[in-house]
């Protein structure tokens, strides 16, 4: 589930528009359209939001939506795809997909609203939906660890990653804007109230003014919390890096040149930080896109964060084998 999906569900609930939600619940084959991909179709056949399942599947979902909304009963659309059709939705070869189409009723919207609150609070939850049989369409919020023998599609809703940005300078501003668009929650930390202001950071989820290293020690810098240091100031960088290295954060990026980075690493080394730990620090930060402006540097940073979180190198797609 993405931030956009939750926002779309919220909007549909507020406006009261009649719509169906189609969810890709099974796909056989390697595909960038992961199970869980959703699309929302109105009773006039219009698509809400930017996400669709793709290719010929969209057309058949739209066609079936009228029936689902008319009967107010969900359906499981099973499709065998030829090679051409499979290619259209990103499958490497012909296979099959199953799309669960359901009318968005009050109970469903309320459940997703509950899940959204949990998600925003940083807690994982899951929604189990019966996609076949007599109980088709019934659903409940469940513990993700629970198991069932029924034909149930379990949609695990993990909380968004939280990007911690230390330093409220020029690069931090576009960084929070890009990160928000990518679905990150963002928190900006700085010792200067006039820098870490709402006026300068309209897209940040949270602003914290205080002793940055102390705040770093209070935050849960876990596996879902990348850390970026853009203060460009050793008195912030060194103590905050020590806190970050004490955590399990998957990403520690430090703004600065190679030379500056070497000097900061040396200060940490003198404080007893071992080489293995120092190697976790990415300096210079970001992907090599030739970034010069604050926005370009921010783009390179957030791209690297996404690549690391997804376990990718961040190279050019055309060179990927």
């Amino acid at each position: 589930m993405s931030h956009e999906t939750f926002e779309l569900i919220d909007r549909l609930r507020r406006t009261g528009r009649r719509a169906a939600m189609a969810t890709l619940v099974r796909a056989h084959g390697t595909t960038p359209r992961k199970e869980g991909t959703k699309m929302f179709v109105g009773d006039d056949g219009g698509i809400f939001g930017s996400v669709t399942i793709g290719g010929c599947v969209d057309a058949r979902v739209i066609e079936r939506t009228a029936e689902v909304l008319g009967s107010a009963k969900p359906q499981l659309l099973q499709m065998q795809l030829g090679d051409d059709e499979a290619w259209e939705i990103g499958l490497t070869c012909g296979g099959s997909v199953e799309v669960f189409i359901e009318p968005l009723n009050d109970a469903t919207l309320a459940m997703y609203e509950t899940a959204h609150r949990e998600w925003e609070a940083g807690r994982s939850t899951a929604i189990a939906t019966v996609v076949a049989g007599d109980a088709i369409g019934s659903r409940s919020l469940v513990d993700p660890e629970e198991r069932s023998t029924a034909d149930v599609y379990v949609e695990v809703l993990r909380p968004p990653a939280r990007l911690c940005v230390f330093g409220a300078g020029a690069v931090a501003i576009p960084l929070t804007t890009f990160a928000r668009a990518l679905g990150f929650q963002t928190i900006v930390i700085d010792g200067r109230a006039r820098f870490a202001s709402r006026e300068r950071f309209p897209d940040a989820n949270e602003l914290r003014v205080g002793i940055a290293s102390e705040i770093a020690g209070q935050l849960d810098l876990g596996a879902n919390t990348p850390v970026v240091l853009v203060a460009h100031d050793y008195k912030i960088d060194v103590p905050v890096l020590k806190k970050a290295l004490d955590s399990t954060t998957p990403y520690i990026g430090l703004l600065g040149s190679r030379k500056r980075g070497a000097a900061i690493l040396q200060l940490l080394r003198e404080d007893g930080v071992v080489e293995e730990e120092l190697s976790r620090i990415r300096v210079p930060v970001g992907l090599d896109i030739g970034g010069e402006t604050s926005a370009e540097i921010a783009l390179s940073i957030v791209a690297e964060v996404v690549a690391v979180m997804r376990g990718r190198s961040g190279g050019a797609m055309m060179r990927r084998s």
Binding site: D190, G191, R192, A193, R194, F195, G210, I211, A212, S213, E214, A231, D233, K235, I236, P239, V240
Partner: protein, 123 residues
């Protein structure tokens, strides 16, 4: 190269009284809005209103950190009234270095924060 003298070098590398107190009588935090130095100072007072313990914490440049370290040593055992009367030159003299005008704010931040705390007791 050591541009700021032995006292600043020694105290910035080995700051005294860095940390916090469990139940301070005075606690105050403030910043140098230009360079981003930010620190908190905490004092415990005895029955005679003398400083029985002083601690500081913050993300500080070498000069500010050394000045905070030196200042907290200077005021230990000092009557609060006397602390209130401390002037800037006393602290600058104790640092025994030529501080460039552009860095005076760094050196004097600890004293500013201390003064702020004395006029605003801990909540």
């Amino acid at each position: 190269m050591n541009p700021y003298g032995d006292v600043i070098q020694e105290h910035s590398r080995n700051p005294r009284n860095y940390g916090s107190l469990d139940a301070p009588d005075i606690r105050h935090e403030d910043e140098n809005p230009f360079c981003g130095d930010r620190m908190r100072i905490e004092l415990s007072l005895d029955a005679d209103r003398r400083v029985s313990a002083a601690r500081f914490q913050g993300d500080l440049c070498a000069i500010a950190k050394a000045a905070a370290s030196v200042l907290t040593e200077m005021i230990h055992g000092m009557a609060l009234e006397r602390v209130r009367e401390m002037d800037e030159q006393e602290l600058l003299d104790a640092l025994r270095a030529e501080i460039q005008p552009a860095r005076r704010n760094c050196a004097l931040l600890p004293l500013e924060v201390l003064r702020g705390g004395i006029t605003k007791p801990v909540a």
